[in-house]
Amino acid sequence: MSNQRTILVFAEQRDGKLKRSVLECLALARELAGSGGGSIHAVLLGAGVASLAGELKEHGASRIHLADSETFRLPTNETYVAALAAVCAESGSPLVLFPASAMGRDLAPRLAARIDAAFVAECLSLSTRAEGYTAKKSMLGGKVFATLDISGAGPVVVTMKPGAHAASPAPAAGEVAALSPVAVDARARIVGLAAGGGDGVDLQEADVVVSGGRGLKGPENFHLVESLAKAIGGAVGASRAIVDAGWVAHHHQVGQTGVTVNPKLYIACGISGAIQHLAGMRGSGCIVAINKDPEAPIFKVADYGLVGDAFEILPLLTEEIRRVREAS
């Protein structure tokens, strides 16, 4: 049955855990449905994931389209998109929200092309207007913020930047609807998973990011950044300079050709602040910069600037944070 007001949220999970940004998407969907009396549906795909329906209901999903079978254990994009397209066809939903995660970025544009939907990625906000939606997103690695009008007939698919919208519980009496697996002969098949950089917290979703740059002199000193990140419970970031120099893997890179981050706290260690780096982290809640050059551009965006030797400051900072966190 078609319901023009149903907003669909892709309930991304890995290893039986919901991505935090799914809950953020549900909160946004409730806001968009608002007084119109629209309903929020979640699409949950996986194997042995049925128990996650409870958490989705807690956050306002009134119906959970669940495919719980071996077919969906791995996020094979052709299989997942076929299932999502089937739910879109059944629900007649005008809007589908995805987290802007590795999985969301892989699936959402493909679904949009399949159902002939307008598509916008990495949105910081989304609101309704008389004829369609208004989205805001960062472009050029954070150097500009764009307002986009989405209009015209047909559905809309959007990925939402993690952390851009707050999650908030709002229990709904949700029902679970079983989704029959769609047979797909996938031509791109996941044959293995390997941990790599699975050592820490996801950079994009982290509340705290500790980044290092060339001021650390060499890869042998990068452990100072990793220790601080560990002490404060944050993710490890890096400047482009040291990624290009091969000190750390690319997935740590913060900036225009890496990850744009907006954590609550960003600590920049030995980073001078190239324009493409600043663009990628200036949306952080609070910025602490440690650099020996008082003229470094990083101090222009820092809330707290520490001019000094990172080799002296970082071990003391790690120790002090550990002490304070243990005491509280």
Binding site: R110, K143, S151, V191, G196, A249, I275, C286
Partner: protein, 262 residues
């Protein structure tokens, strides 16, 4: 084997951006346009396949006349021919429209493989390559950081995800979108630059693509930029004073007590 490499010109990541008076674009005069960095990894991957299998490499770009420069560079690097979608009737499309144009170009080229960057660093939609795959009815793998072809039809690739990599077997024809780390892009040689002058660089308009411009261009765009703004200014910060130990004590106290972050 024929490989289509989709490239885009974007403002350099070093560029300072000024917004135009109407608030809808950026001042082009200030900006150096370069090939999107992720497209360079796609280009290098194509050239490596050319070396391995003798594949034909065709580069395709959509945009104003300046894209000829980027396409000529791709020929100098080793592409065999290039196609410019430089018909103004095609401009102003949204990401979906761009994907339709590029898919039409790939179809006309009868390519077996499409390589492009995982995202363009200007609009940051990471959608075009994936959508081209869907429109062609091909599989795709996005964010590819490792690529090995067993033969011309079968590849094992690695794709970066949060905290790890997925290993994926993909059958061609397919679209692969390249991440940083896939390879080390080469530079054009002097000989390559000389040879590039003789290689074919064609311009295709909407008719050549078999498309009605009004159905894919600006008139059909469902997503439109209505305003651009600079990032919001940050409140003035403070320099923490004292020796290393004093600075650390002060900043941790501020993060704990004032900011409630620790």
């Amino acid at each position: 084997m024929r490989i289509a490499v989709l490239i885009k010109q974007v403002p350099s990541s070093e560029a300072r951006i000024r917004i135009t008076a109407d608030g809808r674009g950026i001042e082009p005069g200030d900006v150096e346009f370069v090939v999107n960095p992720y497209d360079e990894y796609a280009m290098e991957a194509a050239l490596q396949l050319k070396d391995k299998f003798g594949a034909e490499v065709v580069t395709v770009s959509l945009g104003p006349p300046r894209i000829h420069e980027a396409l000529r560079t791709s020929l100098a690097l080793g592409a065999d021919r290039a196609v410019a979608l430089d018909d103004p009737a095609l401009f102003g499309a949204d990401a979906g429209g761009v994907a339709r144009m590029l898919a039409a170009a790939v179809r006309k080229l009868e390519a077996d493989l499409v390589l492009c960057g995982k995202l363009s660093i200007d609009e940051e939609n990471s959608s075009v390559g994936v959508q081209v795959a869907e429109l062609l009815g091909w599989p795709h793998v996005s964010v590819v950081s490792k690529l090995e072809f067993a033969d011309e039809r079968h590849a094992r690739v690695e794709r970066e995800i949060e905290g790890g990599v997925e290993q994926i077997d993909v059958d061609c024809p397919a679209v692969l979108t390249a991440n940083k780390g896939l390879n080390e892009p080469r530079y054009p040689s002097l000989k390559g630059i000389m040879m590039a002058k003789k290689k074919p660089l064609e311009s295709w308009d909407a008719a050549a693509l078999g498309l009605d411009a009004s159905a894919v261009g600006a008139a059909a765009a469902r997503v439109r930029i209505v305003a651009l703004e600079p990032p919001p200014p940050r409140p003035a910060g403070q320099l923490v004073t004292g020796d290393a130990k004093e600075m650390v004590t002060k900043v941790v106290a501020a993060l704990k007590n004032d900011r409630k972050l620790i």
